[in-house]
């Protein structure tokens, strides 16, 4: 690990001051410390935001406000989340291990880096780690890689379960800039596609600090999070779906679907939802939804299975929620 300066401010304004010359914020550190050990990331300054009082979950005019340093464990255990946002509780519980969920935070989970093995291997080229160096995944071993939203420069998958649920929930990321001005970024606008700059993963500006996530009250109906992985627990998704479905008179009256394990960012396709709304559930409908979802998929060698798997998961999940 490279040497760094460590600062632990006690106020938000203090955090911005500590970070004024450029810094990396740290909260749980479960991903960042690992990346620092491997020297994939080597910040000069770490600003510890774990003691700024951002660890509260409060009711909010739109629904619920989750502080940036609320741990994944606390969020999943919160009775308001379990009752009104079960898709989020289930997504959180499907991720990582008990130990990691106790440290991993809401803000950190949003910003966790890909698990592409070439990103972690500093002996190989990687446009995300070292822009312009190339991509070792293309032509290399592919399994936990993206099939949607990829570019010729990067096929890295966004690994989060939590963020997939948040995207289905139309959550917003609350951000405070270095002047102390707060704004909310819709999750739809939060993640960038890799394009030719896969190192730029979000629309955050330098100095921005995530202070929380805003969860709008979900539309009524049923919610679920389903995750398919190589082993039964403690593994990243091969394919996952966060789904909310409302039925009225035998027809789908509202639906939100976000997918993990397939995209370079938590994936949501409104064309799929628009197809489903107003329709009666049928295998034919679900097949068409799968066609729309995967119409622009790029299936490199080793990733063909995701096309079948995501369609089956879509069918299984919609069948369950529309019965």
């Amino acid at each position: 690990m490279r040497p760094f300066d460590y600062q632990r401010p006690e106020t938000l304004s203090g955090a911005h001051v500590a970070a004024r010359d450029g810094a990396t914020f740290i909260a749980g550190g479960t991903n960042l410390i690992d990346l620092m050990k491997l020297e994939v990331m080597a910040p000069d300054t770490l600003v510890d935001i774990s003691r700024l009082g951002l660890d509260q979950i409060n009711t909010h005019e739109e629904g619920l406000h989750v502080g940036a340093t609320v741990t994944n464990s606390d969020l999943a255990a919160d009775m308001r989340v379990r009752q009104a946002y079960p898709v989020l509780a289930r997504a959180l519980l499907a991720g990582a291990s008990g130990q990691l969920r106790n440290k991993a935070t809401t803000g950190g989970n949003l910003l966790q880096r890909t698990r592409c093995p070439y990103f972690y291997d500093t002996d190989t080229p990687c446009n995300k780690r070292s822009p312009g160096s190339g991509c070792a995944a293309l032509g290399g071993e592919m399994r936990n890689h993206a099939v949607l939203g990829t570019s010729d420069h990067c096929v890295a998958l966004h690994p989060s379960d939590m963020a997939v649920a948040l995207r289905a929930l139309d959550a917003k990321v609350e951000v405070e800039d270095s002047d102390g001005t707060r704004r909310a970024i819709a999750l739809d606008e939060f993640y960038r596609l890799p394009g030719d700059r896969p190192d730029q993963e979000t629309t955050l500006n330098a100095g921005d600090l995530i202070t929380g996530a805003i969860l709008p009250a979900p539309f009524g109906g049923r919610q679920t999070y389903r995750k398919v992985r190589d082993r039964a627990s403690y593994a990243f998704a091969l394919v996952s779906v966060a789904a909310m479905v409302r039925m009225d008179n035998g027809r789908i009256s509202n639906v939100a679907l976000a997918f993990g394990g397939v995209g370079t960012r938590p994936w949501r396709d409104r064309d799929v939802e628009n197809l489903l709304i107003g329709e009666a559930p049928s295998q034919k409908l679900f097949d068409t939804a799968g066609d729309i979802l995967m119409k622009d998929a790029v299936l490199y060698d080793g990733l063909e299975f995701k096309d079948t798997l995501v369609r089956r998961l879509l069918t299984a999940t919609l069948t369950e929620l529309t019965q």
Partner: protein, 174 residues
């Protein structure tokens, strides 16, 4: 950087490079070598300790971030001799090489607290709770602790025995 925390009830003050992980602080600076370094990347769970009663991977945490915290390692699970859980591990032969055992013990101690606190898991049928220590819940909740000797039958038997004997054990042990 000056850092103070309490380990197994004993206040400790250290002057640490900020790069030192909590695991290395415990092992190399405080000579508490019970907590083990397996993968050093948060994948195996051998380094599991309790911080303010909650289990974490000590290898993925910087010691300087724990100023003021209450830390419990395997050495602190029992004030004298073995805790009931530790005795159950011996009785059920819940180890072969023993390298993962400190992490298994700390993790299992916390799992019992989490169930007592009504925390759901991935395999829970309902999010409403309460939950009991079934074999399925145990396997899910302990999935962050790998045993490469694959002594899971003994580990599971030990934890299940203690959980069945006294669901309030975890609180009593704190």
């Amino acid at each position: 950087m000056k850092t103070s925390f309490t380990v197994n009830g004993t206040p400790c003050s250290l002057d640490l490079d900020p790069r030192v992980t909590l695991l290395d602080a415990l092992r190399d600076h405080l000579d508490l070598t019970g907590s083990k370094k397996g993968c050093d990347h948060g994948q195996c769970g051998a380094c599991t300790v309790l911080v303010d009663g909650r289990r974490i991977n000590a290898c993925l945490s910087l010691a300087v971030m724990h100023d003021g915290d209450q830390i419990t390692t395997v050495e602190g699970l029992s004030e004298n001799g073995r805790s009931p859980l530790q005795s159950a591990f011996v009785r059920h032969d819940g180890m072969q090489c023993g390298y993962c055992t400190p992490g298994q013990l700390c993790s299992a101690t916390a799992v019992m607290s989490e169930i007592a606190d009504g925390w759901p898991s991935h395999v829970s049928d309902t999010l409403a709770g309460p939950y009991a220590m079934t074999r399925e819940e145990l396997a899910e909740r302990m999935s962050g602790n790998i045993c490469r000797c694959s002594c899971y039958p003994g580990i599971n038997a030990a934890i299940l025995e203690i959980a069945e004997e006294d669901v309030g054990y975890a609180e009593a042990a704190e």
